[in-house]
């Protein structure tokens, strides 16, 4: 399969990439790993006239600890690097666990965290972890550089808060409180490994073992990844016993919108949302020391 013709650009700096994006506004797409965009271009589902390749920019490819003890991941850091990097695993184990479940080895060698976020595939894994970790996404190229909370970044299927001239540069993961346990579990499409439903859960316990903070995010179920806020509210202030987790998970689908496709009906996804949420919460609670 042959993509429609386009002009390929390999800028040497972020500045140059932004200039190219402005010069070809509306006709250009940013590519990093290309694991979603290139297959879409081959199918001619995407036909950009200009392709701006930021994958080689070293300024977007770093992983660093932040002053608050969190971690900042460059937009072009590959899944494989996150999966194998000791510092990323130490600072954000949930993120490493999540991206290790993306696609296959070859896809993880090319695919990037920033690409996953900016592409906003409703069945992508990483966005669930970003929501559960209260991540923020740094973008530049608009009126001024800005930092967008993950909760306000994913707007709809393949639609984010990024403007056409903006480039996502960095993903900021804050330090998680002590006694936090987290897990990402998914029911995957066997062929593509995309999530039919995926749930990232992060639970923080206080000294008495009561849940003081709960973050639960669901991907794959609906048109965009969302927090399961009814579940979070139910669990906060309770001991994460099996009963409490069951009650909390039963509330996971409240207020959520579900999609229907060849992989499952709305009802099936709603059911899976509750089941996978319960399992993710059980694992997160166990890891938090409950």
């Amino acid at each position: 399969m042959i993509p429609a013709p386009f002009a390929y650009h390999a800028p040497q700096s972020l500045r140059e990439a932004l200039r190219l994006l402005r010069a070809h506004e509306g006709e250009a797409r940013v590519v990093a790993g290309g694991m979603s965009l290139i297959p879409a271009m081959k199918l001619r589902l995407a036909q950009p006239e200009h392709l701006v390749d930021i994958g080689g920019l070293s300024e977007l490819s770093g992983v660093r600890r932040t002053d608050d003890g969190g971690v900042a991941v460059g937009a072009c850091v590959t899944y494989r690097r996150l999966e194998t990097s000791r510092s990323a695993r130490a600072a954000a184990p949930l993120l490493a666990e999540t991206v290790a479940q993306v696609g296959d080895l070859q896809v993880r060698n090319r695919g990037t965290l920033g690409g996953s976020a900016a592409h906003a595939d409703p069945a992508a894994d990483a966005p669930a972890a970003l929501l559960a970790l209260d991540a923020a996404l740094r973008a530049t190229g608009g009126a001024r550089p800005r930092v967008i909370p993950a909760a306000r970044f994913f707007l709809d299927a393949y639609e984010t808060a990024l403007a056409p001239t903006e480039i996502l540069t960095e993903i900021l993961i804050p330090k998680q409180p002590p006694r936090t346990g987290a897990a990402y579990l998914k029911f995957a499409n066997k062929a593509s490994r995309f999530a039919i439903v995926g749930v990232a859960a992060a639970l923080t316990l206080d000294r008495r073992g009561v849940c003081s903070r709960a973050r639960v995010a669901v991907t794959g179920a609906g048109p965009r990844p969302v927090r399961a806020s009814a579940t979070e509210r139910w669990l906060t202030g309770r001991q994460p016993s099996q009963t409490a987790i069951g009650e909390a998970a039963a509330r996971a689908s409240r207020g959520m919108e579900f999609i229907e496709d060849v992989h499952g009906s709305e009802e099936y996804r709603e059911h899976l949302t509750r089941v996978i949420t319960r399992r993710a919460l059980e694992e997160a609670a166990r890891r938090a020391g409950a």
């Binding site: 993509p3 081959k42 080895l105 896809v107 060698n109």
Partner: protein, 158 residues
């Protein structure tokens, strides 16, 4: 058209490509390295896997222009011409890890990267590593046996 220069199997090569040409097209059509196969052409089957700067990638999902200046290893580069087979190739031979052989080059290159990082893998780790390489003949048992055999050879314990 643009000129792309890269190192393929240790040799510096240049070719004229269109911006929309894929790395697999460059390898097969321009450089006549036809050991890299196109199976699904939708970046799922892994038959087109090559090493790009040491990392296993699906060359049907990388543009040739993106490989400018890169080091690429294809199945033709695993063993020296006329020399002994690479331990991974030898292991596939011994364990009958192929039937039609179409998927084998991709399998070998994925395993090349995997075994470098994980020289003594468990059965299930091999299966996970090969998740992006489809085989429609063997049922995978002998491929996994080949991988474990190759790992033993490369550790010097076989």
């Amino acid at each position: 058209m643009r000129q792309v220069t890269l190192t393929v199997n240790g040799r510096r090569r240049s070719a004229e490509v269109e911006d929309r040409d894929l790395l697999v097209d460059l390898l097969r059509e321009k450089l006549r390295l036809t050991g890299t196969h196109v199976g699904c052409d939708t970046s799922q089957c892994g038959a087109c896997t090559v090493l790009l700067n040491g990392a296993a990638v699906k060359s049907c999902a990388v543009f040739a222009a993106q490989a400018e200046g890169a080091k690429v290893t294809t199945i033709e580069g695993l063993a020296k011409p006329g020399g002994p087979l690479h331990p991974i190739q030898q292991a596939f031979h011994e364990e009958h890890g192929l039937q039609c052989g179409f998927c084998t080059p991709g399998m070998a290159l994925t395993l090349h990267e995997f075994l470098r990082r994980n020289p003594d893998p468990a059965d299930h780790e091999v299966r996970a590593a090969l998740g992006g390489n489809m085989c429609r003949c063997t049922g995978y048992q002998n491929i996994v046996a080949s991988a474990l055999n190759a790992a033993r050879k490369m550790r010097g314990t076989a």
